[in-house]
Amino acid sequence: MGKYVISKVIQSLLTVLLVSLIVFTIIEILPGDVGTAIIPEDVTDEQAEIMREQMGLNRTPVERYLIWISNAIRGDLGQSLKSSEDVFAKVSHALGITLSFTIAALLIGAVIGIGFGIIAALNRGRFWDNLISVIANIGSAAPGFWFAIMLILLFAVHLNLLPVQGYTALSVDFVKGIRQMILPTLVLMLPTIAAITRQTRSAMLETLNQEFVRTARSKGQNERVVILKHVLKNALTPILTMFGLRLNNCFAGAMISESIFGIPGMGSIMLAAILDQDTNVMLGGTLFMSISVVLITLFIDIMYGVVDPRMRSTK
């Protein structure tokens, strides 16, 4: 197991390095740079040149990448070329905000999704199965921004129960912060519920037909124990895979939520960095996201071993 984890970690590091190189190359290929984006039009050519030098834009791309990567290894991601803000602080702060509501959305969504999936599987072909399937289909098909607007109109405007938008750190105002997080969390939860419901239902139905389930029932096991201990546990592997995929997709989904609800998370800063061609923030944000994805994948891989002992021996 130890060797397995170490090799996975090395693979992950190489993946992160490759991702940073690819992103840097793409940024370089794009026309222009942050200099042309932010240097005012009415400065003299000499002043523009000084500004470009201050931003390091007079160096070759190879030099810039090597400088960036050697600093990044030491934890220095440089400064935003647009605002001079420390990139590490900026990105880590934003990532914390994004993770706070995405993880809540995922965990709650997973619990609900697994519950729905079990109910649907046990009532196959009947009313509850149909209802839950429709909800899951809506969750998969409905665009996130549409759902967000509907929630705002219902809860914020018609019922006046929740704020329209905004973000307040929980440490500053706990109640206000929670109230502002509810709607964006619900927006992220819906596709998670949908995906995990469908995956759970499918995996449960497959497992319910297995011999060992019949054996467990014939031994007189309580139905709840049969479902939760035998069936669900054996169906968890594909559900775990779906959970990992949803965790990774959350960064993309969070961009929509953050944009509509005015949350200063990863999605917001990456979008701004792309529009501003702020290389350092783009690279720093990509680095954080790729590390997050790699760690999530690693975590899921390890969890396979926990959930299914057979996986440990094959590894």
Binding site: P40, D42, D45, M51, V157
Partner: protein, 536 residues
């Protein structure tokens, strides 16, 4: 049974898709504003004003205005800081932190007498030393050009020196971001951290900020400024500014009272507000145009000579129905103008040469210039939807006289590269220039010494035009003579159609509930003066 159930469910979902917005019958009452207790009607004082705007990207340099040109943060900066001078509601220069000024004979030195007894929010004094420090920082960062330096004359007198005379120095910089005076003591104490801890002399003090999303300010109890009727400013107890970039969300926030005013360019916000009770809101477009735009001619006379021929430039101008183009914007976003200057301005030209829609005249000029069947040309635009729409209109009109236009869209960075290139081919540009109440900025951007703009101007073949440009510059300290020369310069430009700018842009719109009064008639620029906002 299953099928009936599924059908009913699908029908309900479909219905909800169309009934998503609030109908007029079901229009909710705007909830009580999310503010602290509203003041009594007799008093303008009290309350927290909640403003929202479209973007707020530069907030992390809020505390060092000399280091940015970020106009997105102007609402916040105007609340926290003051300037030495501003553009008044009447369009003229008005002293703010300065009391008066004089200009040296050679037009290079501007000496300001400062107001006394003003303090920054951190208790430090506002004086000549601080002003000189700010202006030397401005010079260091270079976001206002042509500054040689600033020096202290005495405790409340400061001299700002230019590298070359500019008769429009005050007017062209009145609206510039770096003009805001920040606390030197704060910068020396916090260094880079002062960027996110702004300290000024303005009507509101900084409390906290969520970078790029929101900022909270509280009243400066010792603010030096009073309203025109002698009332102490500001009226509000606090100010909160948040970012909302979606019109549906902005409309919902206005409707439920979460925000009191929205400042931005979201034209579709009006459509969203109409789903609520629009009589509860006021929509005000800015009174000062922010840009003048139209068509420019890329004619690098070294490599591409097409538009060095004045007849071809005029043919393009006659071919376009400029008034009809402006009429495509009934909300007043674009307004037809026959010149850059505003009526009543010292640079306003009486009866300038205009190019009223005349396709026959256009064809005649094309024939005269040797293009009886027209020619093919690219039109260079940025990636905005508006530019695309304008380009398509021009494409239609020019096509009617035989000029076949191909629309080429570029990101700003690529566009700048093309404009700077020595090998650029002849093309048209859908383009505009920011203006601040007069035509001086457009004149300044046409400087013959600026390589960047060379490709857009056939100045090498128009020596008379260069002479007129220099005549404006030579006026140095005589502002009246400078504006007269400016009018002469642009009269020449109109006569020879060096560029065809015929649209004044009024992009800034303020949407606010009827509970607040923004008193925008007392403000001379496009930004909200939060010191003047009060609850009715």
């Amino acid at each position: 049974m299953k099928r009936i159930f599924s059908f009913v469910l699908v029908a309900l979902i479909a219905l909800s898709l169309f009934a998503g917005g609030a109908s007029e019958a079901a229009a909710p009452k705007p909830a009580a504003a999310a503010t602290e207790s509203a003041p009594a009607k007799e008093s303008k004082y009290g309350g927290t004003v909640h403003l929202a705007q479209e973007v707020f990207d530069y907030c992390v340099t809020l505390g060092t205005p000399f280091a940015t040109t970020g106009q997105e943060q102007e609402t916040a900066e105007k609340a926290i800081f003051d300037k030495l001078w501003v553009r008044g509601a009447d369009g003229k220069i008005e002293m703010q932190l300065a009391d008066s000024y004089t200009v040296s004979e050679d037009g290079l030195d501007y000496t300001f007498k400062l107001k006394q007894g003003i303090k920054f929010h951190d208790g430090s004094d506002f004086n000549a030393d601080v002003v000189a420090w700010n202006w030397n920082k401005i010079k260091e960062y270079g976001f206002i050009t042509n500054i040689a330096g600033a020096e202290v004359v005495d405790e409340y007198t400061v001299k700002i020196s230019l590298t070359k005379p500019n008769p429009f120095f005050l007017m062209s910089n009145a609206a510039r971001t770096p003009m805001y005076m920040c606390s030197k003591a704060n910068y020396e104490k916090l260094g880079d951290a002062s960027k996110t801890n702004p300290v000024g002399t303005g009507p509101f003090k900084f409390v906290s900020m969520e970078a790029g999303k929101s900022i909270k300010l509280e009243k400066n109890e010792n603010y030096w400024r009073k309203d025109t009727d002698g009332s102490q400013l500001p009226y509000a107890d606090a100010l909160e500014i948040t970012v909302i970039s979606d019109p549906t969300v902005a409309a919902a926030a206005l409707a439920n009272g979460e925000i009191d005013a929205y400042i931005g360019t979201l034209t579709d916000l009006k459509g969203n507000l109409e789903t609520y009770d629009i009589s509860k809101f006021t929509i005000e477009r800015g009174k000062v145009p922010t840009k003048v735009s139209g068509i420019r001619f890329m004619a690098n006379s070294r490599n591409a000579k097409l538009f060095t021929d004045e007849r071809l430039r005029k043919a393009v101008a006659y071919a376009i129905d400029a008034k009809a183009v402006a009429d495509m914007y009934p909300d007043g976003e674009f307004v037809y103008t026959n010149q850059i200057a505003l009526p009543g301005g010292l640079d306003y030209i009486e009866n300038p040469v205009t190019y009223d829609y005349n396709p026959e005249k256009a064809k005649e000029l094309l024939k005269e210039a040797g293009y009886p069947n027209g020619f093919d040309i690219d039109i260079n635009i940025d990636t905005s939807a508006n530019s695309q729409m304008l380009a398509e209109l021009y494409q239609y009109y020019l096509g009617e006289v035989g000029i076949k236009v191909k629309i080429m869209s570029y990101a700003n960075a690529e566009r700048n590269k093309i404009q700077d290139s020595d090998d650029v081919k002849s093309q048209l540009l859908v383009s505009g220039t920011s203006i601040t109440g007069d035509s001086a900025n457009v004149w300044n951007n046409c400087s013959p010494s600026r390589k960047k703009w060379n490709n857009m101007l056939p100045f090498e073949t128009e020596p008379g035009w260069v002479e007129l440009w220099n005549k404006v510059s030579d006026c140095s300290k005589d502002i009246n003579a400078a504006y007269k020369a400016l009018a002469e310069y642009f009269a020449y430009a109109h006569e020879h159609c060096t560029q065809y700018l015929f649209l004044h842009e009024y992009k800034d719109i303020k949407y606010f509930t009827n509970k607040v009064d923004l008193q925008t008639e007392k403000v001379g620029d496009r930004w909200v003066d939060s010191a003047l906002i009060y609850f009715k």
